[in-house]
């Protein structure tokens, strides 16, 4: 809809540029902060010009606790999220293609589960895990993440499966394919881009969890956000240098994935509002 006078469009464009740049300043600020020394960070007047230093990074990366938390975050996202996506593929296929009874009930039940407040899941999980000895275990956290990824994975995958032409699947079945081999040789290869987009989205979701890691773990099983909140934000002195560099490290994969794959993420990011 380009039907505007050039002058007006020029003004509006400059305004949009200013708004977006200001909007993104916090990200730039934490990046800059992560390159300062401790005393520059705590200077009463914020320092804008300084010699970049990697002190805060060496502080964080020299701490085995941070590495353990980072490894945990990676495992929860890849293994927990990955398992969730894998078992969601056949389920989503059934929800889209079969005429089984209760199909829509299940589909909307899953959507509704996604809307539940996390705290309503956290409290019973805490009580259950306490009894089962699953507090602060990797297994316990993986269970949480598989469960959390399913509603998102089913919702997104269903959308992608709806876009596949059913004729190819029918032809394969007529030719004597079993359902399992039809899934393996036809549906999954065609669905691969959708599966990848879903997986990335689910990984981000698991990566971004705070509430479960913060309260279902106490030490060895902590993810990075929970670790940062517990170790750097203690009641004594807040470790702003560590927070700045750990935030940058933890956000870097998100920003990179977003920069290169945003086209495939938009569908998930709208939360199903746009088909």
């Amino acid at each position: 809809m380009k039907r505007r006078s050039r002058g007006k469009s020029y003004i509006v464009n400059s305004m949009l540029l200013v708004v977006v740049v200001i909007w993104l300043l916090p990200i730039l600020w934490i990046l800059l902060t992560s390159l300062k020394t401790r005393s520059e960070i705590l200077a009463p007047t914020p320092v804008f010009i300084f010699r970049p230093s990697l002190d805060s990074y060496s502080g964080v990366l020299g701490d085995p606790g941070f590495w353990r938390a980072l490894a945990n975050s990676v495992v929860y996202a890849l293994v927990g999220g990955g398992l969730g996506v894998i078992i969601s593929i056949p389920a989503s296929y059934v929800l889209v293609r079969s005429r089984i009874r209760f199909r829509t009930v299940i589909a909307f039940g899953i959507l509704w589960i996604r809307m539940m407040p996390a705290v309503a899941i956290l409290l019973p999980f805490y009580a259950l895990y306490r009894g089962m000895g699953l507090l602060d275990t990797h297994l316990g956290m993986l269970i949480v993440h598989v469960g959390g990824s399913i509603p998102i994975a089913v919702w997104l995958l269903s959308g992608f499966i709806e876009e596949l032409p059913p004729e190819i699947e029918d032809a394969a079945l007529v030719d004597g394919c079993t359902y399992i081999s039809m899934m393996r040789h036809i549906v999954i290869p065609l669905l691969l881009p959708g599966i990848a987009a879903t997986a990335i989205f689910v990984f981000i979701f698991a990566w971004n969890d705070f509430i479960f890691a913060a309260f279902l773990t106490t030490g060895v099983a902590k993810s990075v956000p929970a670790f940062m909140s517990a170790s750097y934000l203690s009641l004594g002195e807040t470790e702003w240098a560590n927070i700045a560099s750990a935030s940058t490290i933890y956000s870097a994969p998100l920003v990179l994935v977003f920069m290169y794959l945003h086209r495939h993420l938009v569908k998930g990011m709208t939360g199903g509002a746009i088909k």
Binding site: M1, V12, N13, L16, V19, W23, L24, P26, I27, W29, I30, I41, P46, I87, S88, P90, A91, Y93, V94, I100, I106, L111, W112, M115, M116, P117, A118, V119, A120, L122, L123, P124, F125, A127, L128, V144, V146, G147, G148, I150, Y179, N208, F210, I211, F215, P225, M228, S229, I243, A244, S247, S251, L254, V255, F258, M269, T270, G271, G272, A273
Partner: protein, 287 residues
């Protein structure tokens, strides 16, 4: 598709949902009818609806409930106005600003807890950059997260910063989907830009935007991470939104699990109502 195969394909997901959602929810319902406390986990007494009745007579809970509804409504309203306005301007004038438009979405993918930490740093009254900017502009610095006057506002600003791009994204996609011919017709009939926006474009995209608003409302209503990192519900009760309130009662300070869970179940009722409305909207669109 044969029934047997459908069931086999669905089984793993259904098993996980039963184990990680249905069963914990049933257990939560049961605990909400007891006086279960982490201080004496071995003695659980059935108390019927006492927790719920207690909550409905508890001014702190009722205040938190009202605060949460008000907070969610205000935050989403601001996000809607900024997001839709920017989306409209990008759609109408920003044809060549594709990269800028995408960059604006970046806050959405960041970890909310990390975003809260970043803002907590910027909010610091003595060396934070926000007060520095305010003072440079001749305004007064604030004790952002530690004053009851500004604490909830501090939470809201972070929420608005991170999630305005969400409504922007939805509104932009909706604007893009409006058929060009409709607008050209209206222009030929002499309609002003303002008239076209309000009488043609907005009625068409209303339902999509409404879906986005509901999704945002549900999320703002259950907000936890940002509040917990910025203020832990304080100072006083000033930022105790329901999720934090439920956490503090059940696990954080009071250790009264039965009560905390009852709060989270009452929250669930609100999110069921909002989701039911949301599902009806999506359903309507699909027909």
């Amino acid at each position: 598709m044969p029934r047997r195969i459908s069931i086999v394909f669905l089984a793993p997901v259904m098993a996980v949902i039963l184990g990680t959602r249905a069963y914990p929810m049933a257990y939560a319902l049961y605990l909400s009818l007891t006086d279960y406390s982490l201080l004496r986990p071995r003695s659980i007494n059935f108390v019927g609806l006492a927790n719920y009745i207690g909550l409905l007579n508890d001014p702190i809970f009722l205040e938190s409930f009202g605060r949460t509804l008000g907070y969610a409504a205000c935050v989403v309203a601001v996000q809607l106005v900024i997001g839709t306005t920017l989306a409209y301007l990008f759609d109408q004038y920003g044809g060549k600003l594709g990269a800028l438009r995408v960059a604006f979405l970046a806050p959405m993918v960041l970890t909310p807890a990390v975003v809260a930490l970043i803002w907590k740093f910027m909010y610091q009254p003595d060396f934070g950059v926000i007060n520095f900017i305010l003072e440079t502009l001749g305004m007064e610095g604030q004790n952002w997260t530690s004053s009851p006057r500004t604490a909830l506002l501090s939470v809201a600003i972070v929420d608005i910063w991170q999630w305005t791009p969400f409504l922007f994204l939805i509104a932009y996609a909706a604007f893009q989907a409006v058929p060009e011919e409709l607008i050209e017709c209206a222009q030929m009939d002499g309609a002003s830009e303002w008239q076209i926006l309000w009488q043609i474009i907005l009625p068409i995209i209303r339902n999509i935007i409404l879906v986005g608003v509901l999704l945002r409302f549900i999320e703002a209503f259950r907000l936890f991470d940002v509040v917990f990192i910025l203020t832990r519900g304080g100072p006083g009760y000033s930022t105790e939104l329901l999720s934090v309130h439920a956490y503090l009662r059940g696990l954080g300070s009071d250790l009264m699990m039965g009560e905390g869970i009852s709060i989270s179940i009452l929250m669930l009722l609100v999110s069921i109502a909002a989701s039911a409305y949301l599902i009806r909207l999506i359903w309507k669109r699909e027909e």
